[in-house]
């Protein structure tokens, strides 16, 4: 496991997330270092996406704070927040491409908002970004005309439009066939290797985790926080925590087994 000797780029301090009476996360502490691929894992409902949405500022913490590049998103001034948005790219689970716009328009949107480039230059950038995700020639397609995997890749191109220093992925390989998912994993690793982009990925695809993660943190529903952290291969081999073992070895939950033979 390589943790660069650098200051963390994202710091989560004592984060508590609550929806009504339902506490999803309690006192979570986490650091993300520049250039690493951090994967947040855990069973469904363990608060992975909630944690990520706090890190990108979509949810405001009930308690605690989230610092991205030293700026607290919940309390930042408009200007700081605006600047920070440039540094963050998000790939949503559904892709979240704007359905009323073509792919080119989707990718152009942040570029024309944040830069003063000429239309020709923007067009070139859009083509380049689409090329990076192997979608050259699809500028004028509407999102509805694409397959699931293509949508994800197009959304990735949009997330990378401004060359952010941190990319967030919400379940990138969910709903994709193994080949497409592997392609996306490869793409993620390539971007990380070449551009040094910090990646925070929420997923529960085992193959994907083993392939791309440099460090994983595991959340648990009952613990309402992080129960394990480290290199995925090491966790798989060494962890004694039954929850971690069950996750990495794809075992059904323990409680069920006793019930199987009651007759």
């Amino acid at each position: 496991m390589v943790i660069p000797e650098q200051n963390p780029i994202i710091i989560v301090e004592g984060l508590t997330a609550r929806f009504g009476d339902d506490t999803v996360l309690e006192e979570v502490n986490l650091e993300v270092f520049p250039g690493e691929i951090l994967v947040i894992i855990g069973e469904s409902g363990s608060g992975k996406t909630v944690l990520m949405k706090h890190m990108i500022g979509l949810f405001k913490p009930c308690e605690g704070r989230v610092l991205v590049k030293g700026i607290d998103l919940a309390r930042a001034s408009d200007e700081e927040r605006h600047r920070l948005r440039l540094e963050i790219g998000v790939l949503f689970q559904s892709g979240a491409l704007f359905g009323s716009m073509t792919l080119a328009e989707n990718i152009e949107l942040p570029i024309s908002e944040y830069t003063q480039l000429s239309p020709e230059m923007i067009d070139q950038v859009v083509r380049m970004k689409l090329g990076m995700v192997n979608l050259s020639g699809y500028e004028h397609h509407m999102p509805a005309e694409l397959s699931g995997g293509m949508k994800k890749r197009a959304a990735l191109a949009r997330a990378m439009a401004l060359d952010p220093s941190i990319l967030f992925f919400d379940e990138p390989s969910s709903g994709l066939d193994p080949v497409t998912a592997a392609g996306l994993d490869f793409l993620i690793k390539e971007i990380n290797r070449t551009l040094g982009t910090t990646m925070v990925i929420v997923t529960h695809e085992l193959a994907s985790i083993m392939n791309i993660a440099q460090r994983v943190i595991m959340l648990d529903k009952n613990a309402r926080g992080i129960i394990a952290e480290g290199d995925p291969h090491e966790l798989k081999e060494r962890s004694r925590d039954p929850r971690v073992i069950a996750f990495f070895n794809r075992q059904p939950p323990k409680t069920r087994e006793g019930e199987m033979h009651h007759v």
């Binding site: 990108i56 500022g57 979509l58 998000v90 689970q93 491409l97 908002e113 009651h262």
Partner: protein
């Protein structure tokens, strides 16, 4: 196969004596579509024989699904409850496996979430009032946001997505012209026709023109236009934004640094404010044209006299109030529709609810505002 002491039946055969050990032989296909039959048969045997010990023989079962297994378990449970010794006999492996799938605890575990009881009127009134209160707060917050965004837009017209504004002007304006002109024309016709029936009796035919003119321009024009816009565009705004919300597109906007109110609501509100007054004038025109048709065909008026009478009775003030009203209606419809859309949480059903709510709230607000205007203009005019 018939053994002595055995009662003839295809599905359930019983052997044993009354009050003693009874063996039930089940055979055939125990599945969801047949368990009630089995249940009935078994119940009959048991009430007849009132056994002290019950043995269920499963050797001849052809097929058993999970509900069949449930039947057997229930039988076991009931026997235990009545202190009858109970056992299975000749249970095939398949049946054993299926029985193993059923978790008896799951049948009695209390629900994690208690089912909402809706019984007390007082409680319901309380909940409804609370919901209304929260809704009002949310609307007030949204009004603040949209005013702030509009204010920004006035200072910084470059921030406004004018392409979108134009698109919605076309959508809610131009595309709505045919239906609006048809309905206004009919409205004018109806009013002229109905009033002519009465006014004819007094020989006051000419006043049909005044009546139609004033009614259309002051009330019906703005109101009809607003209601049509609420139905056509308000619902579309809410559904569009609501779907974007469900698809995480609104979240994507936020992470890209766009303010959803500025990005999604402002162009729609601006488009409505631009286009609804124009539509209103258009509706006024067609309404009066409808009256004119009745006037010249049914009341022996000439075009010239009809128009002259209309011009004489309608003041510039009437036109102004008509326009002011329509601007306010436009802001109300587009604002509430966007708010309803942005409020969507969850899935497809929430989009439907938001769309309905957008239209209902729009029409409600239109009528409330219209009443307020009626009183206000009464005091302003004279």
């Amino acid at each position: 196969m018939a053994e002595p002491g055995e009662r003839k039946n295809d599905l359930v055969r019983a052997r044993g004596e009354k009050g003693g050990t009874v063996k039930l032989f089940l055979s055939g296909r125990i599945a969801l579509d047949s368990i009630s039959l089995y249940m009935e048969e078994i119940r009959k045997r048991l009430t007849d024989l009132t056994p002290k010990e019950l043995i269920i023989d499963l050797a001849n079962i052809e097929y058993l699904d999970s509900s069949g297994a449930l039947l057997l378990l229930e039988l076991e449970g009931r026997a235990k409850a009545e202190a009858i010794a109970f056992s299975f006999d000749n249970m095939p492996d398949e049946v054993h496996h299926i029985m193993g799938l059923i978790n008896p605890e799951a049948l009695t575990t209390p629900s994690v979430k208690t089912q909402k009881k809706r019984e007390y009127l007082l409680e319901e009134i309380g909940e409804a009032s609370f919901a209304l209160y929260k809704d009002t707060i949310r609307i007030l917050i949204f009004i603040g946001e949209i005013l702030d965004a509009l204010f920004h837009a006035i200072w910084n017209p470059r921030l406004v997505r004018w392409d979108d504004v134009l698109f919605y002007v076309k959508r809610s304006g131009v595309d709505g012209l045919p239906i609006l002109s048809l309905l206004s024309l009919l409205m004018g016709l109806i009013i002229a026709f109905m009033s002519s029936l009465q006014l004819k009796q007094f020989g006051a035919n000419i006043y049909v023109a005044s009546l139609v003119g004033i009614a259309i321009i002051r009330e019906l024009g703005p109101m009809m236009t607003a209601i049509i816009v609420a139905g056509r565009s308000g619902s579309a705004f809410a559904a569009e934004i609501g779907t974007m919300k469900v698809n995480e597109e609104v979240d994507a906007l936020v992470t890209m640094g766009f303010d959803p109110t500025q990005f999604l609501a402002v162009p729609k509100v601006l488009a409505a404010i631009i286009v609804v007054p124009v539509l209103t004038l258009y509706a006024d025109f067609f309404g009066i044209a409808g009256g004119l048709l009745v006037g010249i065909t049914g009341l022996d008026l000439t075009i010239h006299t009809y128009i002259q009478q209309t011009v004489k009775s309608v003041t510039l003030f009437d036109f102004l109030t008509s326009l002011i009203k329509s601007v306010v209606f436009a802001a109300l419809i587009s604002g509430i529709s966007c708010q309803r859309g942005l409020q969507v949480r969850g899935g497809a059903e929430a989009v439907g609810t938001a769309t309905t709510s957008a239209v209902v709230s729009s029409i409600f607000l239109i009528i409330v505002a219209d009443s307020a205007f009626a009183i206000m203009f009464y005091y302003v005019q004279w």
